[in-house]
């Protein structure tokens, strides 16, 4: 028995006790789905006109700025809603991340204490 | 700008520097016989150099000794150490850090191990390694002190 025993071992399925995972089968399925989608796409309407309204970016009816910087949604504005909802959590997290070496060591001492207590009891 | 301390300090440094140097080299060479060794002796020599640095000022010393040369010396020391360790592959029982001079008939001079408590050739390659380490420590520690002194000098000297 070698490292690669037979060719079949290369594409064998990964078994995890209640499930399995074989990327090659998955990719095969994906290729088939892609082909079907491509065929369906072939039935689409080809009669659009270039360089007209039809090919322009649709921004919910808003006009497009010439300044490209203004058009790009910046990273800090992404997930605004998520940040807003979890404001309370982030307030705590930000307060903990003081970025101060003494506090890092303080956490180290705290965790040491917790481990001592738990292992001391057991 | 006249750098350094007073004339008295400079003269006394000139008197004591060679003595400290010799003592440091003694500690390096006798590392396998008496307390001490490459690091300790190297630290003594480096502190002698640091004394010169303080007495004469960092600018003067920087002119005499280039940090570049120190780093080459340091590399040579480290290569010497690993080289001696690596020679163990070639001689005797063949392993890394093999003390190949010890009792293995490679060089007959080094065969008499343990006889004569004050001879240098009684511990195989250990004196060689001590010399290599000593070289590295002298160069490394002095380079650290020198660069730090120079950096603080530049800080005071109006860069900020």
């Amino acid at each position: 028995m070698g490292l690669i025993d037979s060719l079949s071992q290369i594409y064998e399925t990964l078994n995890t006790d209640s499930g399995f995972w074989n990327p090659l089968v998955w990719i095969g399925a994906f290729v088939i789905i892609f082909l079907i989608a491509y065929i369906l796409r072939g039935y689409g309407n080809k009669a659009y006109k270039k360089n007209t309204e039809q090919t322009k970016v649709f921004l919910s009816g808003n006009p497009e700025f010439d300044d490209k910087e203004k058009m790009h949604v910046k990273a800090k504005n992404l997930y605004w809603g998520f940040n807003e909802t979890l404001k309370g959590v982030y307030k705590i997290l930000d307060r903990l991340h003081t970025d101060n070496a003494s506090d890092f060591i303080l956490w180290f001492v705290v965790i040491l204490g917790i481990f001592f207590i738990i292992l001391g009891v057991l | 700008m006249s750098s350094g301390m007073s004339k008295i300090v400079k003269t006394m440094t000139g008197v004591t520097f060679p003595l400290m140097l010799i003592f440091g080299l003694y500690v390096i060479l006798h590392g396998h016989l008496t307390p001490g060794g490459g690091f300790q002796g190297g630290a003594i020599v480096a502190s002698a150099c640091a004394m010169v640095l303080i007495a004469y000022g960092s600018v003067w010393t920087m002119k005499k000794v280039k940090e570049k040369h120190l780093s080459i010396l340091e590399s040579l020391g480290a290569i010497g150490f690993i080289g001696v360790a690596g020679l163990g592959f070639l001689f005797g029982v063949n392993y890394f850090f093999n003390n190949f001079l010890l009792k293995q008939d490679v060089i007959p001079l080094f065969n008499n191990v343990g006889t004569g408590a004050s001879n240098i050739n009684t511990a195989g390659v250990i004196p060689l390694m001590n010399i290599a380490v000593g070289l590295k420590v002298i160069a490394g520690l002095f380079a650290i002190v020198l660069v730090m002194a120079y950096a603080t000098h530049k800080l005071k000297g109006g860069e900020k």
Partner: protein
């Protein structure tokens, strides 16, 4: 033919980068290009020897290159006194399945980093020292992953801390990198000192420093408990487990990208130390199916959940690309800890008194172990991409980036590969290991799996944010002149991407042949004769 080379391989793997490190400044005096080629040759040679050694240990008996060297899956290399009469006058390097698995990281990461550095570091001063420190860091990392001696482990730990702190502060004109380096050296020194304190306690009790010798004779009294806590917490801080992770994003984020790659290797080396101490040195008492192992397992699971959540939530909030990946790396470490903690909690004692991992526990071990490799590759690739973006734009804040996909074709492809892999989307490697973790933790407690999957989704959201903010969007006028990064950086990324795709496509091949021996080495603690211990005490 490889017999001689393999006999000395464990020593050579540390010696070659060390020698290279000290030769580099001398070669650098001659010519800059020559020095770069020299560094690449040294690392490539080292990687070759590492892979040979790993192959020789991991491969099945009949295809080993030098079967005589490996006894029961363990190869030992003795420095100093060859006879066992002087147990303290020698240091032993022991390479078993777990070590052989870990040093594969030491083969891949430095190679990619050094090749990447050629162009990435082209305009910086002091490159001689950069290459010296990189090779020193590589040597330290590999030594950490192979040594069988606790004090030697401490020495290598310190070598890596010093070298990596110096490298994190490499761009000294940036005040943030100097600060990050200072914080890193403070926490790693204190961690290492407490580690040394624990070593001293064990030495005072047992008069031994070798892990196998200690494991053979260790009791579980008060002093050993204290030493254990010090070991675990010190290494956990070095491995970046919440709430002691806070140094990690700063250190990862402020270092040059190629440095981060190897610093990450040392972080995983600390994680390896955690496994070695838990499963080998204290294995007999810890992995026992008693209340102790279950409580400890659940405690680790709790820390893991905290680590995952803090990492992911903070990553979502960051606007600095590299810091964001740093927090994502924290979350990934949480996944490993989750797997190992769950495995520990699943240890049980059957009615006959025999101790065993439950089947889910074994899957968790496999998943966690597999995830170590995957995490290093995925996060490493993302860091290299972040470095490439910094290289072309001199900008690490995502707020100022945009539309780079139009100019950086290949880099974008590499980013997408990294993003898909790290957030556990099929078909790349992250999915395979995370699937194993999900399934095993689901069997142990469904809530754990739900948390893990949720965090994985958030991780995808993190990188989609980067993808949108940095790569998509209209072409910004200030990036008009941006060109694709130089070829050496592309090669560095390509190496990692190819391995990611390979592992992604053939997960079973890797799990069965590479991960399984490492898991077996961990499970050996339950056998009557632990090979790791027997290799030192039995022979010689």
């Amino acid at each position: 033919m490889f017999e001689d080379l393999l006999t000395h391989a464990p020593a050579l793997i540390v010696a070659i980068p060390l020698l290279g490190a000290f030769l580099t400044p001398l070669v650098g005096k001659i010519n800059d290009k020559l020095r770069n080629i020299f560094a690449i040759i040294i690392v490539a040679l080292n990687s070759f020897i590492i892979l040979l050694l790993s192959y020789n240990i991991l491969a099945h008996e009949s295809v080993k290159l030098a079967p005589d060297l490996v006894k029961n899956g363990v190869q030992t290399y003795i420095f100093g006194a060859q006879s066992a009469n002087y147990p303290v006058a020698r240091i032993i390097f022991e390479v078993d399945g777990l070590n052989a698995y870990m040093i594969i990281l030491g083969a891949i990461l430095p190679l990619a980093a050094i090749i990447y550095s050629w162009s990435f570091m082209k305009d910086e001063t002091g490159q001689d020292k950069y290459y010296t420190l990189m090779l020193l860091l590589t040597a330290g990392m590999l030594g950490m992953m192979m040594t069988g001696d606790l004090f030697n482990f401490f020495v290598f730990l310190e070598i890596t801390s010093i070298a990596s702190a110096a490298l994190i502060a490499y761009r000294t004109n940036n005040k943030f990198s100097v600060q990050a380096a200072f914080k890193y050296i403070v926490i790693s020194t204190i961690g290492a000192l407490f580690f040394l304190f624990a070593i001293a306690i064990l030495y005072g009790q047992y008069n031994a420093l070798n892990m196998a010798v200690l494991a053979n004779s260790i009791q579980y009294g008060l002093l050993e408990k204290i030493a254990f806590v010090l070991f675990v917490v010190a290494l956990a801080m070095k491995a970046g487990i919440a709430p002691m992770h806070m140094w990690l994003p700063g250190a990862y984020g402020r270092a040059p990208a190629s440095v981060t790659l190897i610093v990450m290797g040392t972080t995983l080396g600390s994680f390896y130390g955690l496994l070695r101490i838990g499963f080998t040195v204290y294995g007999e008492h810890l992995i026992s199916g008693t209340n102790l192992s279950i409580a400890l397992g659940w405690m680790l699971v709790g820390l893991a959940i905290l680590t995952i959540f803090v990492g992911v939530l903070m990553a979502l909030r960051q606007n600095d690309f590299k810091k964001m990946i740093g927090f994502a790396a924290v979350a990934e470490i949480g996944y490993m800890l989750l797997a190992f903690g769950a495995a520990l909690a699943s240890v049980y004692q059957d009615t006959a008194g025999a101790v065993a991992f439950s089947p889910e526990g074994v899957t968790a071990l496999r998943g966690g172990m597999f995830h170590i490799l995957n995490d290093a590759l995925d996060i490493g690739l993302l860091f290299l991409v972040a470095g490439a973006i910094y290289y072309v734009s001199k900008e690490s804040s995502l707020n100022k980036l945009g539309g780079l996909a139009r100019n950086l074709k290949y880099t974008t492809i590499f980013f997408v590969i990294g993003m898909v892999a790290v957030s556990g989307l099929p078909p790349l490697n992250g999915f395979a290991s995370k699937l194993m973790i999900y399934q095993s933790t689901y069997a142990i407690n469904p809530i754990l799996a739900i948390v893990a999957i949720l965090a994985s989704i958030l991780l995808l959201a993190v990188f989609v944010k980067v993808f949108y903010a940095a790569f998509l969007g209209p072409k910004l006028p200030k990036f008009d002149k941006v060109k694709e990064v130089p070829i050496s950086m592309l090669i560095g990324m390509l190496i990692l991407a190819c391995i990611i795709i390979f592992i992604g496509l053939f997960p079973n091949l890797v799990v069965e042949n590479v991960v399984q021996p490492a898991v077996d080495a961990l499970q050996a603690v339950l056998d009557n004769t632990n090979n790791y211990i027997a290799a030192v005490l039995g022979g010689a």
